[in-house]
């Protein structure tokens, strides 16, 4: 069974239609990349899948693990194993990183009928992932993303992902604004999580990230629709020829 099956998905925000019929099927263990120009609807797709309520689904469906994803609240989707790495992670003063992460893990464990983790169970795991993402341990005792650099925020997203162990991880332009070192660390974090059960939807504007995270499939999203799909070579072709090449009126019949 496929992990995610999106059919004819239409979504609007404030009455403007952004997604105009997206079809996408992902199997367990697959890495799919969605590329597209600014404003094509990439981040909207990510937000709809993570169940952001300000986006209205006007038509279509999305089955996740055989369940109606679009009927879920954000927290239910998260507990079912959907994870969104934010393009712009939010700073929340007054909530400690580690405290927050343990609360999130325990919310998910509770949903799944597992015992909650106490600090003793949590800390060794947490320290291991902090090391994997080459994060400053002292930073993690501070408030959530507060005073973090852009790169630190993105690494913190991947750290959270590594802790929460989702089945479907959606990376929304995680590479944008990263220097080469941060990009390498983020990619390393993602690659460490690749497994036959876990799927990734990697949304990016640039081909660069895909040098580090090799996708099985690349899809080109233009004006709310997937206009081309292919293998990793499609990303290179896009890089060379630009998005104009992939737009519908340019595609040979």
């Amino acid at each position: 069974m496929s992990l995610l099956e999106i059919k004819n998905l239409h979504a609007s925000v404030d009455g403007h239609e952004i997604l105009k019929g997206v079809d996408l099927t992902m199997n367990p263990g697959e890495v799919h990349s969605i590329m597209g120009p600014n404003g094509s609807g990439k981040s909207t797709l990510a937000a709809v899948l993570a169940r952001r309520e300000s986006f209205e689904v006007t038509a279509g469906e999305a089955l996740y693990d055989g369940k109606d994803l679009l009927a879920m609240k954000p927290e239910d989707a998260a507990c079912e194993g959907v994870f969104l790495a934010f393009q712009y992670p939010v700073e929340i003063p007054g909530i400690g990183n580690a405290y927050f992460l343990r609360s999130a893990m325990n919310a998910i464990r509770k949903y799944r009928g597992q015992d909650e983790l106490d600090a003793m169970d949590f800390l060794p795991l947490f320290r291991e992932k902090v090391k994997l993402l080459e994060m400053d341990g002292a930073l993690m005792n501070r408030s959530l993303n507060e005073g973090f650099s852009g790169g630190e925020k993105k690494r913190n997203e991947i750290l959270q992902m590594a802790m929460l162990q989702p089945k479907l991880a959606i990376l929304d332009e995680t590479d944008s604004g990263l220097d080469i070192d941060a990009l390498r660390i983020v990619a390393q974090g993602v690659n460490a999580l690749r497994s036959p059960e876990r799927s990734f939807l990697v949304i990016t504007h640039y081909q660069r990230l895909l040098n580090y995270i090799t996708p099985h499939f690349v899809h080109v999203l233009v004006d709310g629709k997937i206009v081309r799909s292919g293998g990793p070579e499609l990303a290179l072709e896009l890089e060379e020829k630009g998005y104009g090449w992939a737009e519908p009126d340019q595609v040979p019949a």
Partner: protein, 464 residues
């Protein structure tokens, strides 16, 4: 003028009853009370035409027939079980007052260490001369409520630390109102004297038992001697019909460091006056507050920080959380006198409004007569950010839990400034309960909204 015809019979009656009992009080105190009473009669209660009371209407205090609680014929109406939950773990002692009167059988004053005296005020007056401090600081000429309190107080607390004494555990002053139906008034009076280089923390805790209407009009004078370090906590958690007017007057000598923490969680109409005077060079004060209101609560914070001497610093941080139709006021006035060079004064007021009907009025006011000073102020008003809420939910936290976490984070800024662990933990528990209650109410918001439409509701500003 409207004030001329106001009768204020309930207060006049109380004054008449009390005069007879006062003949054994020292002459200076009798004079002060007479003078104060004269001031009160001349001023009457403030109205919203008074600039300092623009946002808070106290006309109900005139209309409602508040009485002093009847002197209990038999046993005290409040038992130790009733207040069992009102305990601060790790407190040094607990002085309990019921309806403004000392309740020795409920108090715990055993084995106080050397260097500190904790006693009820009327008892203290029988063998100590308090003329040097009592009534010397709170301004009964400008403030009708101070005048009223001075005229009508029956009892209260005296906390005094001797030179150099370091008292690690906080003193708990518990002021209970227990009305069995009839509206009851109390005018508690507290005097805290921290002699030079001593250190102490005092928690004034206002609670009500039962759902009756009460009016507490308290005045606290806190004198911090040279280089003394004092923390004062005001905890207001009375029922939603309660009126609570409190005045904290801080007098700080050279190098004294005072922290004032106000935590307003309960009460229907609350006015929290904090008035530090930095009267010695190099004094420092921190004025920290959190007010949390829902329903029809009206929570007014009136800060007047006076820099009277050079090289003093003051920090004001007030955070407000208001839901439903609650209304908050933050009035922060900083006065820098002519000689107070190198004053460093800062004021910040942050507010979260959780409903469209909640309201905050925030008003900074700077009055600077010196030329070498640094004064800054800032206020923000916001909602819970949808972005932050979604972020937390996207990690698996239920909406109510995420909301609660965000509110708690906002309140935590105030908690972090409280240095005495027993007091902070006590306050943190109360805040957690209050925010939990609010988050739970929020999730059933729709149902509540419909119900409140049918309530006969008047905001305090419209009354009278």
């Amino acid at each position: 003028m409207a004030t001329a015809v106001r009768q204020l019979d309930q207060y006049v009656e109380a004054h008449g009853d009390l005069r007879a009992q006062r003949l054994k009080e020292p002459a200076w105190l009798q004079r002060m009370r007479d003078q104060a009473w004269h001031e009160f009669r001349a001023q009457g209660l403030p109205t919203t035409h008074d600039e300092d009371w623009r946002f808070t209407n106290v006309a109900a205090l005139e209309r409602i027939p508040f009485r002093r609680a009847a002197l209990a014929a038999v046993a005290n109406p409040v038992t130790i079980q009733d207040i069992a939950a009102c305990r601060i773990d790790g407190a040094l002692c607990r002085l309990v007052f019921v309806n403004g009167r000392f309740a020795p059988e409920l108090s715990e004053l055993e084995a106080l260490p050397d260097g500190i005296e904790v006693i009820n005020l009327s008892e203290a007056l029988t063998n100590e001369n308090l003329e040097a401090h009592l009534g010397r600081y709170a301004d009964r000429e400008r403030d009708a409520f101070v005048a009223l309190n001075t005229g009508l107080w029956e009892d209260g607390a005296l906390v005094r630390t001797r030179r150099g004494a370091a008292i690690d555990r906080p003193v708990h002053l518990l002021y209970v109102t227990a009305s069995n139906g009839a509206p009851v008034m109390t005018h508690p009076r507290t005097l805290i004297v921290a002699e030079a280089t001593s250190r102490v923390a005092v928690v004034e805790d206002y609670v009500s038992l039962g759902s009756g209407q009460a009016f507490s009009n308290s005045v606290t004078e806190l004198v911090a001697g040279q280089d003394a370090v004092v923390s004062h906590y005001l905890v207001e958690r009375e029922n939603l019909d309660a009126f609570n007017i409190s005045t904290l007057r801080l007098q700080q000598e050279r190098g004294a460091n005072v922290h004032s923490h106000s935590i307003l969680l309960g009460g229907g109409l609350v006015r929290n006056n904090v008035h530090p005077v930095l009267a010695g060079a190099g004094a420092e004060c921190l004025i920290n507050g959190l007010f949390v209101g829902a329903g029809q609560q009206h929570l007014d914070n009136y800060m007047l920080v006076e820099h009277a001497q050079p090289d003093c610093s003051s920090r004001q941080f007030y955070n407000g959380i208001l839901d439903e139709r609650a209304r908050g006021v933050f009035h922060g006035r900083i006065v820098v006198h002519k000689d107070a060079q190198h004053t460093d004064a800062k004021q910040t007021n942050r507010n979260l409004l959780l409903s469209d009907d909640a309201r905050i009025d925030t008003k900074p006011q700077l009055e600077i007569h010196a030329d070498d000073v640094k004064c800054t102020h800032g206020a923000t008003i916001g909602q819970i950010e949808e972005e932050a809420l979604f972020y937390l939910r996207s990690r698996g936290l239920a909406e109510s839990e995420a909301r609660n976490l965000l509110l708690h984070a906002f309140a935590a800024e105030c908690l972090d400034r409280m240095k005495e662990a027993p007091a902070r933990e006590f306050v943190e528990t109360l805040i957690r309960e209050r925010l939990g209650e609010m988050a739970a109410r929020h999730s059933s918001k729709r149902r509540e909204a419909i119900e409140s439409e049918t309530e006969v509701a008047q905001s305090w500003e419209e009354v009278g």
